[in-house]
């Protein structure tokens, strides 16, 4: 069993009188794909928001590398090596892939020109090409606006952007939802490559066959609580569905 990287314990999140999370726990391990599944309204999105810094839990604790952390903003989370790939592509369609990869983290030139804000485009492009090749993202060209690429390539760049900067955990919220079959395979390949880098990948998906095909571990959320955990290899589709609908409950959260 690999190292426990992210450990969320008994998270509670209230929006006014609505309890989106009622003591949810979640664990992700280095070098594994952990799928987070659940029916609509189970609290998946809220949990991911809490773990990526977009929202703060009302109570509960988050341990990263076994030390307690407070993720008060996405920037804080990013600084700790936690990245998120959003469902709606968060790329700038008019910028080229390299510019998107380095968006918000631009490399400046050396010396006085860099101090004045001048960018080292060549270096960024070089590193971008390197990263894309390493992750197996094939692009027709690195100097076209990303908007002229296909949906799968765009999503691959979005995924690449997160994983290049993530040192610990990557959350992917329905990364393949808008894609066709071939494009989906491509993104899943990238996800596997990321996992092999030793990063904890958290995949949120509604697509059960997809979950079963890539996930090493599956955690099921229902009504704001984790109700079941499976390991990918010996899981049947029926078990997942049973857990999501409440027919099967493995654990009672405190």
């Amino acid at each position: 069993m690999s190292e426990l990287l992210l450990d969320a314990q008994n998270l509670v999140k209230r929006y006014g009188s609505v309890e989106a999370l009622r003591g949810a726990s979640f664990q992700a391990r280095a070098g594994e794909v952990t799928a987070l599944i659940g029916d609509n309204g189970a609290g998946k999105s809220t949990l991911v928001k809490c773990l990526s810094g977009a929202e703060q839990p009302t109570s509960g604790s988050i341990l990263l590398d076994s030390s307690a952390v407070v993720l008060d903003s996405p920037t804080t989370a990013r600084r700790m090596g936690i990245e998120t790939v959003y469902q709606d592509l968060a790329v700038a369609p008019e910028l080229d892939p390299a510019a998107n990869l380095f968006l918000g983290r631009e490399i400046h030139r050396k010396g006085i020109l860099g101090k004045l804000g001048m960018l080292d485009k060549k270096e960024m492009k070089r590193q971008a090409v390197e990263e894309f090749q390493r992750l197996g993202v094939t692009l027709q060209s690195t100097d076209v606006p990303i908007g002229s690429l296909s949906g799968g390539q765009r999503q691959s760049v979005a995924v690449a952007r997160s994983v290049v900067w993530a040192s610990k955990v990557v959350f992917m919220d329905e990364p393949t939802a808008a894609l066709g079959v071939v494009q989906r395979e491509r993104v899943l390949d990238v996800i596997k490559k990321v996992r092999d880098k030793g990063i904890a990948v958290v995949l949120i998906s509604h697509n059960m066959p997809e979950v079963l095909s890539v996930a090493d571990r599956i955690e099921v959320l229902r009504l704001g609580k984790r109700v079941a955990r499976f390991t990918g290899a010996d899981t049947k589709l029926e078990d997942l569905v049973a857990a999501m609908t409440g027919a099967l409950v493995q654990e009672e959260a405190a």
Binding site: G104, E106, S148
Partner: protein
């Protein structure tokens, strides 16, 4: 190895043979850009007018006056380029120009004996410049604050400040122009030349344009300008301070409108309120004709320069060939609409992928 198949109107779809990272040749990139086509239009206009009236059109004097007459608009349009790339708009630049000129004029008058600034020296002129720039920057800040912080649509905010700045300019001098402008200023910045015939006004505009191009195309500030216009939410998620950036962009545009107001004052030796009321639309038209997209994320300073010259060359050409220059307005309107149409087709084609 990259094989490209040009589609109907120039931009290309590429298929990669070896899965590598192809770089498009300069030729391919140029054909894909709106700027390239609009540059051809400008070139064609120059060739046509030169052919019709070689003796009058292709003269140093014609080009000098052409450059001088476009200088003020060019400075406004450089600022407008930044704003439109963020997918915003600034209707107030013309009024801010007038206001800044008025503030500069009144300041210089106030600092001169008997309120007559005609004989004022460089100390007073510098005070006037500072006043103009500060006045423009303040309007830019107001625009930026209302748009970026208060989240009011740019069209409405700048429509409001367009009226407000013009009204304020009228109030400053009871609705009439300031006409006592330092002769020294008019003589040097307004009509003076350097380097054997290059008008000083043009030099200033060129320097500002080059700085603008540098800022937009090579710096982080420029990169963020494109990012904010391309996908503001995505930029925010990437950790870019979108609000602060928009505030800076509108402030920059106000600052440039202030500079333009001072340049105009130097050239006309008067605040010429009535000559600038359509400057905002001219600047927008020039920027958009130059390939900057009203939807944001796309544009270049070079394109804007070309866009500024098309109406100017048309006007000059029609004057010389004795065509009524009202035709210029019609021609510019047609080119403008065509440019936006092309831009939209490009977008639609892309989004359908």
């Amino acid at each position: 190895m990259t094989v490209s198949t040009p589609t109907k109107n120039g931009s290309e779809i590429q298929t990669t043979v070896d899965g590598g990272f192809g770089k498009r040749s300069i030729g391919q990139r140029m054909i894909g850009a709106n700027t390239f086509w609009i540059a051809l239009v400008l070139l064609a206009l120059i060739i046509v007018f030169t052919a019709i009236a070689p003796a009058e059109f292709a003269t140093l004097f014609t080009f000098q006056t052409l450059l001088i007459e476009t200088s003020v608009l060019l400075v406004l349009s450089v600022g407008m380029t930044f704003v439109i790339i963020t997918s915003g708009i600034d209707l107030s630049v013309g009024s801010v120009l007038i206001f800044a000129g008025m503030v500069a004029g009144k300041t210089m008058e106030a600092l001169s004996p008997d309120g007559d600034a005609t004989k004022a020296g460089w100390g007073v002129i510098t005070a006037g410049l500072v006043a103009a720039v500060v006045a423009g920057t303040i309007w830019g800040l107001i625009n930026g604050f209302l748009i970026a912080v208060a989240n009011i649509p740019p069209l409405i905010v700048t429509l409001g400040t367009m009226g407000a700045a013009l009204g304020a300019a009228y109030l400053l001098n009871n609705g009439s122009d300031v006409r006592s402008v330092p002769t020294e200023l008019n003589k040097t910045l307004g009509y003076g030349t350097s380097f054997g015939g290059v008008p000083n006004l043009v030099l200033v505009a060129v320097v500002i344009t080059l700085i603008g191009a540098w800022l937009l195309h090579t710096t982080k500030f420029g990169r963020y300008t494109y990012a904010v216009g391309s996908n503001a939410e995505g930029a925010r998620r990437a950790g870019i301070g979108v609000t602060a950036h928009l505030l800076k962009v509108y402030t920059l545009t106000g600052f440039l409108a202030g500079v333009a107001g001072f340049l105009s004052l130097a050239y006309y030796a008067s605040t010429t309120i009535s000559a600038h009321t359509t400057d905002n639309l001219n600047a927008i038209a020039a920027t958009v004709m130059g390939g900057t997209s009203l939807f944001g994320g796309v544009g270049s300073v070079l394109g804007t320069v070309i866009g500024v010259f098309i109406p100017a060359v048309l006007k000059k050409g029609f004057n010389i060939t004795q065509v009524q220059d009202f035709w210029q307005m019609i021609a510019v309107g047609a080119v403008l609409i065509a440019a936006v149409w092309f831009d939209q087709r490009r977008r639609r084609r892309r989004n359908s992928r």
